[in-house]
Symmetry: D2
Subunit: 443 residues, 4 copies
Amino acid sequence: MGLPMIFDSLKRSKPSQPTNRDATVRRLVQACHELLSEEGEASGTTRAKETLAQYAALDAAQRVSLFQALRTDFSPNPEKVLEAAHAYAHEPSSVNLAVLLHAAEPPRQELLRRLNRAPGGTHAIIGMRVKLLDALRKEPELAQVDDDFRHLLSSWFNPGFLELRRVDWNAPATLLEQLIQHEAVHEVRDWNDLRRRLQQDRRCFAFFHPAIASEPLIFVEVALLPAMASEIGPLIDTNAEPGDATSFQTAVFYSISNCQPGLRGVSLGNFLIKQVVDTLSREFPRVREFCTLSPIPGFRDWLKERVTHGFAATDKRATPKVRKALATVSPQFAGLMMSAADLRGPDSPLPALKRELSTLCAAYLLGIGEEAGTSSNAVTKFHLNNGARLDRINWRADESDKGLKQSLGMMVNYVYEPKHIERNHEQFVRGRTIASSAVEDLI
Amino acid sequence: MGLPMIFDSLKRSKPSQPTNRDATVRRLVQACHELLSEEGEASGTTRAKETLAQYAALDAAQRVSLFQALRTDFSPNPEKVLEAAHAYAHEPSSVNLAVLLHAAEPPRQELLRRLNRAPGGTHAIIGMRVKLLDALRKEPELAQVDDDFRHLLSSWFNPGFLELRRVDWNAPATLLEQLIQHEAVHEVRDWNDLRRRLQQDRRCFAFFHPAIASEPLIFVEVALLPAMASEIGPLIDTNAEPGDATSFQTAVFYSISNCQPGLRGVSLGNFLIKQVVDTLSREFPRVREFCTLSPIPGFRDWLKERVTHGFAATDKRATPKVRKALATVSPQFAGLMMSAADLRGPDSPLPALKRELSTLCAAYLLGIGEEAGTSSNAVTKFHLNNGARLDRINWRADESDKGLKQSLGMMVNYVYEPKHIERNHEQFVRGRTIASSAVEDLI
Amino acid sequence: MGLPMIFDSLKRSKPSQPTNRDATVRRLVQACHELLSEEGEASGTTRAKETLAQYAALDAAQRVSLFQALRTDFSPNPEKVLEAAHAYAHEPSSVNLAVLLHAAEPPRQELLRRLNRAPGGTHAIIGMRVKLLDALRKEPELAQVDDDFRHLLSSWFNPGFLELRRVDWNAPATLLEQLIQHEAVHEVRDWNDLRRRLQQDRRCFAFFHPAIASEPLIFVEVALLPAMASEIGPLIDTNAEPGDATSFQTAVFYSISNCQPGLRGVSLGNFLIKQVVDTLSREFPRVREFCTLSPIPGFRDWLKERVTHGFAATDKRATPKVRKALATVSPQFAGLMMSAADLRGPDSPLPALKRELSTLCAAYLLGIGEEAGTSSNAVTKFHLNNGARLDRINWRADESDKGLKQSLGMMVNYVYEPKHIERNHEQFVRGRTIASSAVEDLI
Amino acid sequence: MGLPMIFDSLKRSKPSQPTNRDATVRRLVQACHELLSEEGEASGTTRAKETLAQYAALDAAQRVSLFQALRTDFSPNPEKVLEAAHAYAHEPSSVNLAVLLHAAEPPRQELLRRLNRAPGGTHAIIGMRVKLLDALRKEPELAQVDDDFRHLLSSWFNPGFLELRRVDWNAPATLLEQLIQHEAVHEVRDWNDLRRRLQQDRRCFAFFHPAIASEPLIFVEVALLPAMASEIGPLIDTNAEPGDATSFQTAVFYSISNCQPGLRGVSLGNFLIKQVVDTLSREFPRVREFCTLSPIPGFRDWLKERVTHGFAATDKRATPKVRKALATVSPQFAGLMMSAADLRGPDSPLPALKRELSTLCAAYLLGIGEEAGTSSNAVTKFHLNNGARLDRINWRADESDKGLKQSLGMMVNYVYEPKHIERNHEQFVRGRTIASSAVEDLI
């Protein structure tokens, strides 16, 4: 038996509780202490079940009070940590390391592991984190509690434990309605729309975890096409005839959506995309190109900001071409704030500004004017951080209300080229964005 | 994004390698560093797969060399830990806690998490630990590496992620032959023997983990009987007629075996027994008693030791009755060392010593003469630590060679009484053994 | 080896073909002869596959031509039958019976059995029969061909080979959309409507056959309620709150629909209802009453007929009450022909005629005025033939357009009382309808 | 509704019963009549269940009495048949054909169809037939009853309703032990033996029917080899190393066994072999040769007969070579009747007679001396009737006791060549055996 097991048997959490907790929360905090105790260890899953039942009965304020207790009562003891750190610095032996790790690990981590033993425990913990993330907005000091949730969930939802499954029209309706509910990029209008997205020239893949097997964690929708798509309309046209399998050369990832807000910060999308690339490569050896057709949320807001404040004079990345485009667009900016309907209409200023807006969009995506050196756009960051290349900006790619409002109808293709993924990512982390020459030329 | 994620992107492991490593191990250690790096993060599961493949090609000496590298190159940096501990002691903020946890956690934990991403990763890691446990016997300083394996495996094999399944004669032969192979208590002689153990008055339950779904982790064999069993023979008699379901009042756990040596120290048996008690209670509401019929390994060796050295004169727990029993047995001890065949024969000294040996066996199981206050017997410790009660010592309960050799044919029943489990466990941890009055009377 | 096997090896079908068949059909007829021959027997399933492929390529006229060929070329030879019948009459031995059966069975039966050997053969044969039933309308002499299809399909779709499955919201969308498509009584408006019909206070059961496992054969929708339903609206109200399981006392079968027109005449509904009664009785021991809420198609047409022609003066079953009701309704009959919207409106003649129309509806359902003695209504005949009792006529039970058009808004409950089913059926076959006293009182 | 349905409602079976039936059988016969009646039709599956339960309680004599009743009371009425045959001969209309078929079909067929409706009905009917086949040996007039069982079972177990499944070591033990039990050619000695037969260079395929899904109907064992096997030993050697998949060029069917004696006469083996050839062709495109390695039961008995009686002088097929071989063997025939051990020993007459015995074995397999023109050996008839070619006689191919006793150690390869199967079969039916030139040369 290793040393930590000895330490497991020591009481690690303090029993005293502040007086501003109501009785219900106090009882629950007490139950948590007991769950961590010797008796709790022996109870199998009974105490874990009971403790989760107590949690389920809390109201919103009580939940926040509990989360505060997790922070104050279930954190490492700084003195003991310091003592252990000294001992380890003095002699980095196995025993001293074990003592250090035991002292440094917040007891709430073991608490979560014990709660997880209950039937449905994983599900409950994910639900608890949804509430914690809510609370975190107002109470930033809860970040350390959330760190422990995220740390454990990341370990438990390691890709090695996930199952990639294709979802098609043979899937249970209970699963399909979750796709409809969680699709966050291009709304699924109805069941016919969904059916079209699951036909033979489309693919939908989702990650599942055995502990919550009936709920997808994240899913991606893919169109198999003869070439890289430049507009979204035909991809989600319910009446489009399915394409012929012999013509497939490109797989276009046109939507990726998370289903579990309680898994925020747990890396899933990156692995999903790469496993789907693998899977499709095997099923369709002739498909060589893997890319996205992605929205550009935030471009119009960014543009407004630029129109108002311009680029810093010292910013070398803001090329004359970019500055000139901004100068051209600025006077007409009011026109760009039209309703989506007007932007689609005959008096739209868009056609006349195609060149300049494309340049400015490239600037936005390349992070020009950003301190970090890379774009502030979350979608861009996601794909570039995954190792994709910024490949093509598409004009009039999404003329829906949403598309016009967020990016004046433009969309972007990111390309995943397996052999360059590591290098692209490494560059991105160092503050540089890998883009195609077509995009570079725009600026 | 929480703070630890930022830290994740920093290099945490040192690139320099000692010169006594051979080139193969050096390459693998380098691969491990890269897997932990930015590029590794972006590679999806490719690098993990490759790294595991490199590991699989190592020979025994290279594996030990690798484990040494995991200890020397992938441990926390004592100075950084101390620095972080000081900062946390000075101000226990979320940021300081995050920095502390990041500094204190051995980088090999993250390495294992990344290796686990590969297909078959969990299986490989368990296999790696089997080898590590081997190496550990000669190189005790590897304990700290093993601590990290055990810590992660304990988290991943949390009961909330395990599936309890009944195994019956409908199970795949591939699974059944694993039971035959791993049965550690009462050998399964052949397929007929196994079939009898899976009939309607017997139960076999096993835990499975989805990541290694075709291999049982641990299994327990149960006999459903009208009363607590006092000998093993009839329970594993291939020709015994199956009992009638209306007569079942007692569930006797007569064998529990681990199938995964790589999961040593990960608590499984405790949860298995309690979930099986639950499951059987629901299926057979009339079954009220849950007990074991357990072997007593080590009794004869213990007895030899006592015969040689006696009990300390100051040991108050060694009652006069116990001392007298020892005094009676000692002169005849040579006879007790006979072969099993002779012990079964007409000249066996056993019948004449039934009372004294029962007393001494009770003393052994109650931990009389032990510093810890509780028995040194691993089976006893397992059940008492799980909250069972030491209930009855059975004379002539197992007259097989093995049974006579280890315990002169005696076996013991431990009783699991749900409402006393927590208390019994708590007492045991404090150095006391809960036993029935029948057992107490023996001493 | 029995005698018929010897006969199997004789050529049983005539090779000559009439000249008005086109070449494609001639080739297919030839293929059928070969499939029945020795070579065909040896080919495994190859020839069956090829023959079905030839059939699949036929156009409508060619199909009729093929069906004619099945009639003319694959019927029993009258002379041989007569000869065999004489021999059997002379000596009813096993051999003579075997010869008789071989002579009398139309060779097209064996042809269908051989076609069925092909992968997908059963499905193809059912599809073939759909076309045959079409053709039969214009070519009544094809009845004898259809008799053989029905005979074989009845044997193959024997209830012993069917699987009863509950269909709920967990079912594949591919299955659920078949329910939407085939629901023939109360149209499923959309997926929300369907979901409501599959919630916890509703049940849907379907029969499946392993050879066409992904297609339901027939399904029934059931509402679990505190009492017998008297109107359809609440049962299919998408927004209705699900009822509480503790309140269920009655199971109301409110819709039963066939999915396979090619199985016409194969008894499925009768067995479905009785198996569902069994299944629900076991799941809900407190549910004691099993009834339908059924439409009354044809009542308004029947009424029109009666208004025009009255009852025969000699018809003793047409009671004075019935005759009087008809006399009262007749002058206002034009009003009853209003549009459904008007019938729902303030000037509707319905309220004033409730009593008379109920009486006439009872007369319709009891078969008053019918030669057969029982109702000509197919739904009524189905349930009464299954052994149900005519229990209650419900006024304003279905005010949909369809409900008003076919039955002026009335619906009827048939009650299935297990212990009276056989007797009720037997009475019905003898021309009598078992009805409740409430219904009897109406006339 | 077709005409036969009208006739279904007429009583078809006679109620009077002979006096020598005991009361139990009389009650059961009465139940059968009722099951066929109107009330029976309405009862769903209840009466079928009850009738089967009555049957299950019969003793052997009562069963025979019941089978007699099925013959006497549930046969077609000769007068009605004759009448219907006359009508049909006079006018072969649909109605007259329907009347004819209804009159000619033994009512026990419909009885079996109705019994089949009960849960487990198919299984019970197959079991009933096992007993009927037993009874048939003593009471040949029951053949006509058996004809109806076989007719219905052949229709129900049509290959279109069977599922071909590969059985490997992952199969449930309950299934595997049925293989051990039913293996009829080369006994499975124990579970190790079975495991070897299911490894990667071996295949086992079985047919299953959904109505008795847990029981195989028939199975075949196949060895994948570089070339046609000439002896059985290496194929069933438990210790043989599995062959390498790249070397597979020949699939050798070395055992085929029926599991359901109640399905005698239902063609299964023929379809099984052909579907397995198809399946293996797809999995192993490089495997081009499909053959058997088959025992030659009856050769030694045949030889004894020939030694005693010789060939008819007029038999042209008995060539001089054959006659000469017989002349050579005859004087030494006593030696060939030695025990198997002696035949394997140093004084065995076998080596000296290799040429002659091979010639005589070829004669036996080619049916020389048989009136039918083809061999009387059931295995030979089975494969040749399936369209195989007699390819090679193997000396010292099976030196087990059984192999020496039945065929003096010889075995034979039949080759299935897809493109010649139909022709070979057709020749065989005409009394000719297709053999390789190697075999022809032997005679």
